[in-house]
Symmetry: C2
Subunit: 143 residues, 2 copies
DNA sequence: GCTTGCTCCTATAGTGACTGGAGGATGTAC
DNA sequence: GTACATCCTCCAGTCACTATAGGAGCAAGC
């Protein structure tokens, strides 16, 4: 096999861990590559690119199923990119929501630690705010 | 049974789903309550308060093990609240980091959807940015 | 040729924090 | 008395991996 890339090399090149690469193959996100005589996976440059695409998508918080759709789109360049646009926009909304939610948490946590007088638990704002939901304005959070 | 609260009532009162309440009992976060003759769990006001504490802590993103520590502290009001303070501060740092990370994602997603010309996938910024990691400045993310 | 040590293989189980379903018992309202 | 809501236990599933066990392949040095 002159120029097949071993899984370890692909892993380093793409930043995707070896078990994760095998996992992606298992769930059909990455095609099963040919094997050497010794039964080892041999990848090519296209596989590495696909993995980079996947990793980057995961970093952006897209779910595996969404990535499946995005990869399908990438494979058919003549199609409309409306689906990709929809997925990205939906993710953007999610991210904005999450930021807003986390900012609320941040404010409440700040109130907690600022209120801590470093004394006994008895008079601790941290414990007290956690115990009494009425003392805060925070209402919902999802991760 | 005059004043035991049924699991369904506690669930509604605290906003914690019934299977989740049973799960918390199973992992030892909530003490196993007494049962009626018909083998049904009966809770009291203190249990409901404990569940509210847990729910609020989860909403703030604390992990179960941290909540265990926080509950232990609550049970011993004469102790120093330094541990609670440490946990809350650590969570605050996490939240701040996450906000920063999500803002980077937000920027990149915005660049993606703004660059989308609503044409073919061929020329779609969304797909292109995902494929080519060099086209973005984003580097790490954890959820 | 042989050993050392790295890389790779499969298969299975574990993670966190739940959630869902099956199949059955109990409690309540009409 | 019967319909229906609520509850019970146990077990499997979720997501996206991660870890472990137990072995085989391969490249380099002696």
């Amino acid at each position: 096999m002159s120029h097949g890339i071993a899984i370890g090399k692909v892993s380093v090149a793409t930043g995707v861990k070896i078990p994760t690469i095998r996992y992606y193959e298992q769930i059909g996100l990455l095609p099963a590559p040919p094997r050497t005589e010794g039964n080892r996976r041999t990848y090519d440059r296209k596989d590495a690119e696909r993995l980079t695409f996947i990793r980057h998508s995961r970093e952006l918080g897209f779910e595996i199923d969404q990535i499946r759709t995005l990869l399908d789109l990438q494979d058919r360049p003549d199609q409309s990119c409306a689906d990709a646009d929809t997925i990205a926009r939906a993710r953007l909304v999610e991210v904005k929501d999450k930021i807003a939610s986390l900012k609320a948490l941040e404010a409440e946590l700040e109130r907690m630690v600022e209120g801590c007088s470093h004394g006994r638990v008895e008079s601790c704002q941290v414990i007290e705010i956690l115990a009494d939901h009425g003392k805060c304005k925070h209402h919902q959070h999802d991760a």
